[in-house]
Symmetry: D3
Subunit: 327 residues, 6 copies
């Protein structure tokens, strides 16, 4: 890969440990290992679609740190901006897959991670020159005071070097309260060109209904473009996925997808990746279309990362779902 | 755990051996091991909800016997009343998970088990003093003449020591005929304070429709309280669960649950455990509500045992199902 | 098994390698091994229903070749007509299981297989004497020029020795184009007593709607009996299965099956096996009924082979689906 | 396979259930499934070497019974003499793999099995006509009074129809005492042409040292040919295998094998199979050589059955072990 | 279990996560889950041998905390003294199994665990009344300042209530330096009745050779009884285990064990458990003998916990290793 | 990674499919997936040691092709020179792990692979400018006439651009005969600066004894430096590894390694990688030392790729093996 990255994301990735076969953690004698983290998942999605992406984080020099970097590299993400350290640990999260009426559940074990200690000065930000878009999520500032500073610093650098900025709110109630989140996320949102408003309503206390939410957020925060996914669940194994955006005009995804859910984790990040790809290569409508197709594809596969190929997504967009086995 | 048990159950537990991934037994090269048995499952459910429970059975002094006792102990069941023996074997059952139009199927291999040889004199029953409820199912008297005697003897002792008695009919057509079951179960039912009428209609030849069944059984057998679950299946992977009870008045569960079925085994026992817990701590309506919540939770997890926590069940009862991933 | 086979099939079987748990091939570190091949699956289905079946193919003398022959033998198929060779390889196919909107997908790796090199003279065809039905599919002539000749030669021999002939079109777009298929399949179809028209519409450019398709094909090709399955999918995990036949009169299956799909591969072959069994033991209507029951049963189990027993199919036909767990 | 069998064996096969990875049964949440049984293993070994073998037993018409028959069939054993029944169960054994100083351990759960109820009249023994050798082990008469009668009856029939008889003592202390075994095995041994004296010393109270044992047994029981394996263990993972025979002269295996033990179960049966093959095709010395090669090969693979090919054994005999990877 | 515990241990247990099949962490897509922790392993070993044991620790109220408590309970350890908390996390350790020349390797991820926050006042220590022996290891004071205080406080309480005290040094170089360890462990050792000197030489800068080490430590620290294991490794898969003790006289284990190593973790704790059992029921020599037998048995099984039964250990002591398969 | 590669290798990589737990292929229902190929393994080893490496090959645009590229990328190999194609297939090899007396065994299924169709003109070779060493093995010219031409063309280019050349003979008897190999390999060897003479004796008909072999080859082929590994096996699970080199002087590795063999595949390639690293950073003696350490480390882990870190190898070289668990 010659030339610098098109898209840069910044944030923490964790090892995800999950019992197989819908077991509870208390029942299980082995755990499946995946790599998960919102901003890494976005970088992966963007790379699978053919743009060059880089991911900024901090990792300890341990086998666990290498698992994460190896995965990013395998998925064609530029890992040359990872900061390696002898200190701290790799964050973990334990995931139980639910079935109605039992929801899926996450136990975070990410305190004191190396990533949450990434400092503004750890990175020489001038590599952002030439980068088209810088992407960040609301998880990073939730992790530590240090990360809050790094987020703001990185955003200023991105602006300075002329990158567009997308911000996925990604509110996590296990990490902070809505009011803490509001305090930290409002200045970030105001610097963003694109606000992806997943789980954002409780932070700014706006209506949950997607269309009203994006409009309210656009008004309240003054972001040029606000985007969100819409989702209608039928239990935990079936859902309908679509999306909506407002800027000066209103956009809606061309086709909602009826999906069978193998693993919901990383769906929002796949949407973000697809949206960024589509937006950068053709604008908002194309962004929604790629975002939905990527999100719909993601839920059909296990793990946080999206293993779709560009061809598969293009075929899905061109012809719609075709569930006949291909042979 | 100080003090004696609140609830005592009596019966056989088996090793359950099942092929993974919906394989047929003929296809499989490995079998998943679980511990299953109606009365042990009830004792476990009661213990998970915070009451003290003990389980009476007979087990051989072998690794297989220890698997069962270890599991009961892990699940906080008092195993001090287990009778250990050098004779006979551990009962087994082989389970194939079905998918429409193929039903799940059980092969019992429990003949000559140690548990089916539990005798009236094997246990010093005066430990029942102070116990609030003694629970038995129709499976035990189906296993052997000896177990029939033990069941009746234990019931008399329970009555003598002032325990309330619940009896879950649990008719199993692979163990005996309806007329054999009627002969053995009628005197048991007549001693019960609570009759849980699962699969009971064919024994006493009453209407299968739940409401008419419980009323007919109440009348026919003179039990103060008759309870049953209601269930509407949509294939093998989806169902709706609720329940009904009649005593001097008629009760109905507050909320039916739409469930996605991971493993249906042990659902009735989870209902019984929830009902017993709710009934002992607040009466019939609370019994139905806890029973349904426990049953609905159970089907979402693999194995016969219920790994719900009291907190999870209380949250389900307070707010209803919330299928959003918790993070 | 005394006496010669009732049914003989001819074709290639492959090792099927598939990632577990809906993983993509790129994600997986182990692959499940099954044996698959349309005509072997038919021979297996026929044998499970109690007729004697034999399967003709060519296999290399390697462990991989033996996996296939062992499986056929285990499933009670007569393997004495397999031609063993020191040359070439065993065909493989890689299978990814899909979930909406991602279809299941097959990568064939079967080029240069021993089976595709089966020659007319490799077999002494007079063993067909006394055989009731000879079954072939459109996959075999798609594999090689040699196989095309062998197919025609075998059909002529079958006719000579008085076998009825069934031909399942089984069009595979990854093997050849519709026009190539038309050229090769038309003479075969014209020799057939029974045409099973799965995926056949594109070859002869007729209407896709099943009823119109079978009528058009009957007319166009002059086959005495044309049969096809009908299927209505609700995502990849649910479907409705039925079938239809036309000869001088029109037949329709007695009962459509609502199925939960564990593994769709081999469904058409199970229909063919059931149809052949029913047809040979009672005529067209019985053929459709056994065909649908076998197909519906197959989708509920993993792998290409049908592990139903005759008893299970008879019970399904007699009473319809009963999804209560059998215990 | 045309023509009748060359070798016939009679006895019980069980499902073997064993925890993976040297776990104890108490630790394991899944069990590997294999098929094991001394006489079936002998029939399989003989078939792998290219002779025709048949196996006589009684199996219940259940999926578990079919697992066993399918395996025998896959391994090219003629299963047409299996007696199928609606009664009783499939025998099981649970196997823990040891490591020094912990021995491997077996829990038999085979009481009341269908096989142990095989009766003299269940089989029409005239199929023994033309059979070269009838093989039986000391396990069968240990299982039940009925089996003792069947063994004697079958032996008489074998003699009547001109079969040579081999008898592998296979003393199992968990099934009977030495004195019970002596009572039952002495008349059997006296009818045998070949006595394979594995674990036989305690029954007839002779010296354990192999050479002295075979000589003492030959004298005591008057068997024309007495054979035994010799084995020197270095822990549980390494061993040295050889064998010895006495008739009118003394034979010793041409080459001892230093083996790495993957799974010791079935080693004696593989020796017996190899010996029978070699003996029938060339005499005692060839018998010992094939017996040792088969035994040595067996311990290098998991499961009771021997998956060697004739070619592999011939190569081992011709050139000795060559541990360089073959590529 | 009536009456209080005979033996009480105090310390942290962790979830142990290890790749299967000698994989490196970087290679693995699933991790086996075990429960490990020196003092819990001792409590388990003591309970398996038939004494009553209790274990003191602090655990978070999460599924991960429950995994640990469930395991302790299953293994018959009294868990009523566990302090449950809403704060902090469960400690983890990642384990790679080595093969020469690659050593096994541990990555601790236990910082900030609930157990390392166990405070002197969290427990009402008067339950130590009647307890025969209180056991602690050098790992606990290594974990935190708080744990150092708790260790000392608990020891004083143990002394006050008349318990004998055993102290297993268990030096872990990944937790602290020798000089830090010396500072903390010297006062603990001086309060101990029994010092188990595993990996102790570097702390007090004495000779590594076992006999000289125990003598030097006895002299230096004035402990009445100093014990240590001796071990001679032949690669990572074979070892010889024995032990030695000095008090006023010198003891040596009656029999060294040649062991095949399945999993070395927990061996020292099994020795300690065996020693404590033997010592309490018969003195030092019996202690060494039970200690070695338990240690030797442990290495033959996976996981940190010892699944031996009292019968198996007694048989090993009575007759020495017998590696013939038991059947 | 900035700057071009230090080391470039060229050749085919395959998917390696192997049954777990020493099963035979005939027994197994799942296959472990690894990526293997001599020259890729060398590139990986070099990259793990900290040099920049690139790998040249041809891969089909399929999930199977991507598995290989993903793995190379994860292991830090520069994949920008891979030629992607719509034609042909990914080569496979099936691997059975042996145990004495059964050797491990490989079934190649690599005919018609995309890699074997890599043509001289597929690559713009001027990227070799600045590369320090170009590595090739004798497997590539064995695969096809096309590959033979490509090998020679690439070597000429390497020479032109000033790269040193290493050639690992890697004779594979399943790919070609010694005389075919001699014809093709002699001109290649004559262009090499370093000849790694693994399995080379039969090609040039020289003495097998390592020291005599390298001397004879040096003389016969005129290569400046000839290197080979020495290995003494004790069964399949233990071995001793060392090496030797001759140029104008004779070198021998500083320390032989006694290794426990988890997986022998890729050992020679790890030696080559270590040798190349050591040679490029310090000369022949350092080459042998790094080569042996890498080889010894490799056999302790599963898969063809070496997951050692530079730190681990340096520690092994500095202090020799230390088998105490690190904690």
């Amino acid at each position: 890969m010659s030339g610098g990255p098109d898209v840069v994301t910044l944030g923490e990735a964790m090892l995800r440990l999950s019992p197989p076969d819908h077991q509870r953690l208390e029942q299980s004698t082995s755990l499946d290992v995946n790599v998960g983290g919102a901003e890494l998942s976005v970088a992966i999605g963007v790379a699978r679609l053919g743009l060059r992406s880089a991911w900024v984080t901090k990792l300890p020099k341990t086998p666990l740190g290498r698992i994460i970097a190896n995965h990013a590299r395998a998925m064609e993400v530029d890992v040359s901006k990872i900061v390696w350290t002898d200190e701290r640990r790799v964050g973990l999260y334990f995931l139980e897959f639910g079935a109605a009426p039992r929801p899926s559940s996450v136990i975070y074990d990410r305190k004191d991670s190396a990533a949450s200690n990434l400092k503004p000065g750890d990175v020489d930000w001038k590599f952002l020159k030439g980068v088209k878009l810088f992407h960040i999520s609301g998880i990073t500032p939730a992790l530590s005071e240090t990360n809050r500073e790094t987020t703001l610093h990185a955003l200023k650098q991105a602006k300075r070097w002329g990158c567009r900025v997308s911000f996925d709110v990604n509110y996590r109630s296990k990490l902070w309260s809505p009011s803490e989140a509001e305090l930290a996320c409002t200045p970030i949102a105001k610097m963003a060109d694109i606000l992806i408003a997943s789980d954002a309503s409780s932070i700014w206390n706006v209506d949950k209904e997607p269309e009203r939410m994006v409009k309210a957020l656009k008004k309240k925060l003054g972001v040029p473009l606000v985007v969100t996914t819409k989702r209608a669940d039928d239990g935990t194994f079936r859902s309908r996925i679509s999306s909506i955006a407002v800027s000066d005009k209103r956009y809606e995804s061309s086709r909602p997808y009826d999906v069978e859910v193998v693993d919901r984790l990383g769906t929002g990040d796949s949407f973000a990746a697809g949206f960024i790809y589509g937006y950068l290569t053709g604008g908002v409508q194309r962004g929604l279309d790629y975002g939905d197709a990527m999100a719909a594809f993601k839920v059909s596969t296990p793990g946080d990362s999206n293993y779709a190929t560009k061809d598969e997504i293009d075929r899905l967009l061109a012809s719609g779902p075709n569930l006949r086995i291909q042979r």
